[in-house]
Amino acid sequence: MESPFRSEEAAFRFLLVTIGAFALIVVASWISTWLGLVVFVVLTAGAIWAYMRQSGPRAPRTHVEHVGPEDEQRVLVIANETVGGEELLAAVGERALATRTRFLVVCPALSSRLRTWTSDEDEGRAAAQERLDATLTRLASLGIAAEGQVGDLDPLVAIEDAVRTFHPDEIVVSTHPEGRSNWLERGLVDAARAEFDVPVAHVVVDLDAAGRRRDG
């Protein structure tokens, strides 16, 4: 929702709308008090509906500067339940082989909104930390050194936080396949591509298929 007082121009437009709306209310109330009340309620509801329908302002694109040695690439990996997935490990390994690369793996702490609002996040953070530790150990066993941290519940906020300190040259977002991924449904990959001016790669990890392969 865009605020009617976001800028002078928006505030001026809002003033004009207010004048028109209240002129209608006054005329209606002169005809009948109840009609005036009805017009007031209808116009107020209409105004709220119109403002709620407006999409919010687009975030300015964040320029991420390269830091560190020229020949070093920094890759930020955002993953949660898929953090240990073979497809993701392969993507990380591919990048590690290609050039001198530093990795930061961020696992957003999965938690319900209710738990977040009541500060009951310990369980979610502990689970994320556990997955992260296992992945870092696995990467280390493959000879890939990586740092890791548990991030914000909102994956985009987790990325924003990590970008500010890590300055990645590339972001890798790992999700479940389409239809099973909450992040994809929320448009995380597109949002990250729109917000940051570094390449954002999307790796799909199918844990079910991997499980079937193991069982078979």
Partner: protein, 203 residues
Amino acid sequence: MTSHAEALHEHHGPPAANRSSRVDARVLGMLLFIGSEIMLFGSFFTVYFFVRVVNPTAPSTWPPPPYHFPVFVAGVNTAILVTSSFTMHWALQSIKRGHRAGFLAGMVLTFAMGAAFLTTQIVEYLHVGFNTSAGAFASVFFGLTGLHGAHVFVGLTLLAMVTIRGFRGHFSPEHHHGVELPGIYWHFVDVMWIVVYTTVYLI
């Protein structure tokens, strides 16, 4: 927006605060301020509707006889205040396009009309024929219109600063944030007056 390269190696201490809000900090400040203002006016309107509607001993006519509000004078005053929003808008549009003369004329006119509004309101108070001791309706009338008048006074102070700075050449098409924010405030004051005038004087 830029993530500074020096942050990782040369910066000591915690990283700079993440500005997660998509709104410019100065505009966000003005929004929060206006939000608090809406709550303040809302409390006064609650009192108004209680006195006029909810109160079991509410008068059947508003204002209760033998008093009456100077609707016509307040209407003219409303027209003056609304016009001042147009000149404010004109002033900002002018400075955005680099028309300094238009900007200064707009600011002077806006200030003059705001001052005329406030003066007229003071004169109205002197001739309205009742004071706060005349009853709850009078307290509500002076409370609401006085609260708004105080906001007009604050707005006039801001406009005066902008006008003086404008004559000193402080604003340009690239730098006019100091005009934008008082402009938002002035339109807000205008919007609130539309609501006050409609509910107190007209309905």
